[in-house]
Amino acid sequence: MKFVPVSFFKFLPKVLIVSMVIIALFQFSCNHDDTGYNPTPYQVTVPKFFPTRMNIPAGNPMTVEGVELGRYLFYDGRMSGNTEPDKMMSCGTCHLQSSSFECGIDHPKFTGGRPFGITGIVTPHYMLPMINLVWNETGYLWSGSISESNPNPSQRNIEDIVGMAVTAPHEFAGDSNKTKTLIQSIPGYPELFEKAFGSRTVTMLNISKAIAQFVRTLISSDSKFDKYMRGEQQLRTQELNGYVLFMTEDGADCFHCHGGSGNPLFTTNLFYNNGKDSEFNDPRDRFSVTGDPSDHGAYKVTTLRNIELTGPYMHDGRFKTLAEVIDFYSQGIIWSPYIHPLMHHANDGGIQLTPGEKTDLVAFIKTLRDDTFLTNPAYSAPDKLPDGAKPVE
C-alpha cells in the first residue's frame, strides 16, 4: 500500500483554492461570447385576464435588440429592395398604427381600405388587424393557412409572412436577395443585426425574425372595457346595455365567437361561416386549408379591439361601416348548409335587433377602442432610420 506524503496534505488547501480560482475564471470566460453577442431578453408583460401562454417560436426568442431592429425594418421602405421613392414600400405603408395596423377605409392611397402592392395588384383579401398576435395559436390570414400544421415549412409563422410579403406580387413584388443586399449596405443596420443576432451579415431569415419580434410586441389591453374589467372606469348605461346584448344568447350573442369578459382578445381566433353567402368559390377560405366541407365560406373571426377603425369589414370588405355590419347580423344573414350552428338566427335572417339595441351594441363595441395602443410610441415609426433616412409609412 502506498502512502500519500504528508507534505501533500500540507499544501492541499492552497491547491484547492488555486483550482477553484481557475475553474471560476474558466466559467466566467464561458459565460461571455467572444463576439460580444449578448442580447437582452424581451419580456412580454401579460395583462390582467390575458392568456399566459404565448406563441413565440423557440427559434426566435424575443430580445430588446431584435424588437428594436424589427421596428426599424417594419418602417423602412427599402425593404422592397428599392431606393426610388415611388418603388419603396414598408410594412408600415399599409399597416398604420392609427388604424390598428390596418390601412383604414379613409386611406388616401388605398381607396376604400383595399391595399395593393408596388405594381398595383390588389391583395386577395382585405386586411386583418395586427393586435395581440402573440396570443394567436390558430394560424394567420383569413384562412389560417399560415400555421404550424402547414406542410410547407416556410409558411408557418409571422416570420414566414414577412418573407412572403417581400416577394408577393400584390405586396413588395421584390426579390429577397435584393432586399437583404440593400439592407446590408445601409449604414447602421449591420451593427443592429450584430446586436440582435450575433452577426453583421444581413439575412432574410434574420430580417423576418426581427420584424416578427416587433409585431409580437403589439399588444392592446387598455381600452375603456379593459379599464372597466380592472375596476378603473365605469361604462355608461348605453354601453352596459350593449354589453348585455353582446354577452347573451337571446341578445346579439356575439361572445361565443368574439369573446368578452372571459376572453379579452375579443376573438377565439377560430373560423366560422357567418352567413354572408350561399355560394362559395373563394380559393382562400378555410375549406382551402382543411378540405372539410363544413369549412366552406369560413374565415377567421377578427378581434373587435379597435374595430371602429378597421373598416371595411369581412374578408372581402363588403361592409363599410360598423352599422352595416350590425345590420347584417341583425337582418342580413343568408342561410346555407355550411353556416355555423352558432348563427342560430339564420332562418330569421339574423338576430332582429331594434334600432335602439343596435345603437347600444355599437356603443359597447366602441368601448374596445384602445387609444393607448393607437398612440404607443414604442409601436410607431422611429423619427429616423439607422442611417438617418426617413421611415416610409
Partner: protein, 260 residues
C-alpha cells in the same frame, strides 16, 4: 472496534430485512389513461351529417362537441376511493382537439381490483369560477359573468330538421342557470357513477368513457327541439332537463381482466 463492527453489521442486516419486508407488501402504482369516445346508439359519431333521429323524431346532426369532465374517482374493491388530482382534476374534451380525446393524468393509481368510477360532468361549484382558464381552448368555454360566470359544462352545436323540413341550428349548451330576474343561479353540473369491475395493472390501465349522444335526448325527458327550441343557455328549465338526461349518457369500458 469490535463493538462498532457488530453495530454496523446488525444495522445493515436490519435494514435489508426491512426493505425485504416492504417489497413483499408493496402495491404497484400504475399510470391510468382515460379515453373519451362518442357514439350515437353504439355507432361512432359521424359529424356534420344529418344521420340521426332522436326519440322525439327530430332528425339531427352534431357539428361540434366540447365539454369538461372532472373529479374522476376510482373505487377499489376494498372500498378505497382514488381521486385523480392532476390538472386541478379537470379535463377538457373537444372533438376538434385530437389530443383532448385521451387523458393521461400524472397521478399514479394502485394496481388492483376496481369496482366503480365516478366523475363530474362539467366543473363543480367550488371550482367553476371565472378566470379558472385563461388559455384556449378551455378559455373559450367561458360562461358570461352576468349569468353566473365560470365555464360551460358542455357546448354541443349542430342542426336539426324542424317542422316543414327547415334546418335549424341548435346550441345545446349547459352551464350555470339563472331565474328570469337574474337574481338566483343554479348549478347544472352533475355526477355520473358507474360500475367498473376492472383489474388495473401494468398492462391494463386504459379506461374508455363513452358518451352516447342520443341519450341526451331520450330519458327521463323526451327532447323535442321543435318544442324546446335550439338555444337553452338562458332557459334553466331546459338545461335542468338536459342535465337529467345527461346522467344516463355515459358508460365505461376497458380492455383487460375482470377482478379475480
Amino acid at each position: 472496534m469490535k463493538k462498532l463492527l457488530f453495530l454496523l453489521g446488525s444495522s445493515l442486516i436490519g435494514m435489508m430485512l426491512i426493505i425485504g419486508s416492504c417489497r413483499k407488501d408493496e402495491v404497484k402504482s400504475v399510470s391510468p389513461q382515460f379515453v373519451f369516445k362518442h357514439n350515437v346508439d353504439g355507432v361512432a359519431l359521424q359529424r356534420a351529417v344529418m344521420n340521426y333521429t332522436n326519440l322525439a323524431g327530430n332528425q339531427y346532426q352534431v357539428d361540434e362537441l366540447q365539454y369538461f369532465i372532472s373529479e374522476i374517482t376510482l373505487q377499489k374493491a376494498d372500498g378505497q376511493l382514488i381521486r385523480i388530482t392532476s390538472d386541478s382534476s379537470i379535463h377538457y374534451i373537444d372533438l376538434d382537439v385530437q389530443a383532448s380525446l385521451a387523458w393521461n393524468p400524472k397521478d399514479l393509481v394502485p394496481a388492483g381490483d376496481y369496482t366503480g368510477i365516478s366523475f363530474v360532468f362539467g366543473i363543480n361549484e367550488a371550482k367553476n369560477k371565472s378566470g379558472l382558464f385563461v388559455n384556449p381552448p378551455e378559455r373559450d368555454m367561458f360562461w358570461p359573468e352576468m349569468m353566473g360566470g365560470g365555464f360551460h359544462c358542455m357546448k354541443m352545436n349542430g342542426k336539426w330538421k324542424a317542422m316543414g323540413e327547415l334546418i335549424q341550428p341548435f346550441n345545446f349548451h349547459i352551464g350555470i342557470g339563472m331565474n328570469m330576474a337574474g337574481t338566483e343561479f343554479y348549478q347544472n353540473f352533475f355526477t355520473v357513477t358507474l360500475p367498473l369491475n376492472m383489474q388495473i395493472n401494468d398492462t391494463h390501465s386504459k379506461i374508455d368513457i363513452t358518451m352516447n349522444i342520443e341519450k341526451w335526448f331520450a330519458a327521463p325527458n323526451l327532447w323535442d327541439w321543435d318544442v324546446i327550441g335550439g338555444q337553452i343557455m338562458m332557459n334553466q328549465m331546459a338545461m335542468r332537463k338536459a342535465a337529467e338526461n345527461g346522467a344516463n349518457a355515459f358508460q365505461v369500458s376497458f380492455e383487460g381482466n375482470n377482478p379475480k
